[in-house]
Every structure is written in C-alpha cells, then in structure tokens.
Symmetry: C2
Amino acid sequence: MSMIINEPLPRNEECAAALKNVLDALSVINGRWKLALLLCLMQSSKRFNEIQHEIPGISSRILAKELKDLELNYFIRRNVYPTTPVTIIYEATEYSRTLKKVLGELGAWGGLHREKIRQSMRKQS
Amino acid sequence: MSMIINEPLPRNEECAAALKNVLDALSVINGRWKLALLLCLMQSSKRFNEIQHEIPGISSRILAKELKDLELNYFIRRNVYPTTPVTIIYEATEYSRTLKKVLGELGAWGGLHREKIRQSMRKQS
DNA sequence: GGGAGCACTTACCCAAAGGGAAGCGGTTAC
DNA sequence: GTAACCGCTTCCCTTTGGGTAAGTGCTCCC
C-alpha cells in the first residue's frame, strides 16, 4: 500500500482549479461594460461615437477609459486613418474572439433570465 | 442636420438584442464574487466558514452581503437546521444551475487566458 | 471560567467605479 | 463667423466595493 498522506482528493483540486479559473477570468473582464464593448466590436469595427450610440447608458469618459483598458490588454486595436480629419476605428482582435463562447452563453442566459423575471412579475400582478 | 431615416436592418436588431442580453446578464451577476460563489456552491452546499475558506481573499463582511444578495435573487437558499448550535447551509438553487454553461465557458477561458499570459511573460524574459 | 468556534453584524475608513457637465482642438457645413 | 461634429479629456461628485477590527450570542471543550 502506498502512503497517502492526506492528499486533498483530485475532485477537490478540480473544483479549486475551476474556481481559480473563474476568478482569474473575472479579474480581467470585470466591470459593467467590457464584455458588452467587446461584443459590440466583434459584431463590427466601429468609431468612438458609434460605439457610444450603440451602448445605451455609457458615458464618453467611461467609454474612453474602457477602450484604453481593452487596448492595453490586446482585446481591441485602435486604428488611426490619416484622413482629414483623422478617422479612428476600433477593432476587435483575434484574441478577443476567444471570448465568443462566453459571450454566447452569457447572452443566452441573459435572455432566459429576462424572460423569467417577466413571468414572475406577471404572476405577482 | 441630414435626415436619413434608415430603419435598422434585421441584422442590426439581432446584434442589439444580443447586446441587451449581455448587458442584462451583467447587471444581475455583476461584481467580483457572485459567479465564483455560485460555482463554489454548485459544487456542493456549504457553510459560511467553509465558503470563506474556499474563496481566497473574500472577507466575512463581503461574503455575508453577497450571500444575502444571491438569496434575494433566488440563486441560493439559506437552510437553517435546528441543531445546537444552529447549522446554516447555503445551497445553490436549480435556477442557479442555468448558469452552468456560462461558468463552464468562463472557467475554460480563464484557464486559456492564464496560459497566454504566462507564455507572453516567458517571451519577455 | 477561559478560550475557541460559528455566523455573522457593526463601525470606520479608503479606493475604485462611474455619472454629468464642460471644454478643447481640429474640421466641415451653412 | 458660427454652429456642429469628432474624439476625446478634465473636473467634480456620488455610489459602490471592500479591508480591518471589534463585538455578539450562542455552545462546546478543557
């Protein structure tokens, strides 16, 4: 018999790893706007004002900050075209597309959840 | 002011709907801890101190607040057993399990992202 | 009876997130 | 000339998140 010195079970380690993964993911794509911005830019490249128009409720200040943050983390690229005046187009990188499934599931769940809330409100009335 | 009264294309509407879904989802499961807590409790029902021990970095104050919030939104149940002293077990509801896929994808992405970061750090050195 | 553990709560304080309004330097339209 | 648009930036403010530390009422253990 081999000596098993109270190793945590593999099952537990798996759980801990999954937890760590989720925690890590959340630390990168935290905040109210990042995922929505990425989805918006994955649908098509856009200019500053177009994004602001498309995402209801975001202020220019926050938008600028989030875009900078996403660029620093290589999720988007800021392309400057030397037209007059300069045109600036934000574009999702290939790496940001690794989040596609996450966004898909999150969107699906969001729809489901809204439906559930609507139903529970109907019951109450 | 040019008046171009273009109907948004159906494609655009789809995009807008997807965006709204994601935005809605984020408004419910926002914050650093909620998804991690749900994952933790979906793995198995636990007591307060067990959760605190399992999630590195969370303080009792925040844990209590988040648990209350999740209970209010029917993601978890707080079961009180009349032992002496009382035993309190937090349990994920069936509804919270609708987030399983989201958590799966998020965890998978978190692992992938950590790997990518590690590689880019290795390159730099 | 002293200490420790459970499940929190309370008080205090700090930092980050985020909202609103205004401005700025450039250009184009009237 | 002036108004408006673009892509921001700056200032100021409130809200929220979160850390520390202490306390509470209960019970079990030595």
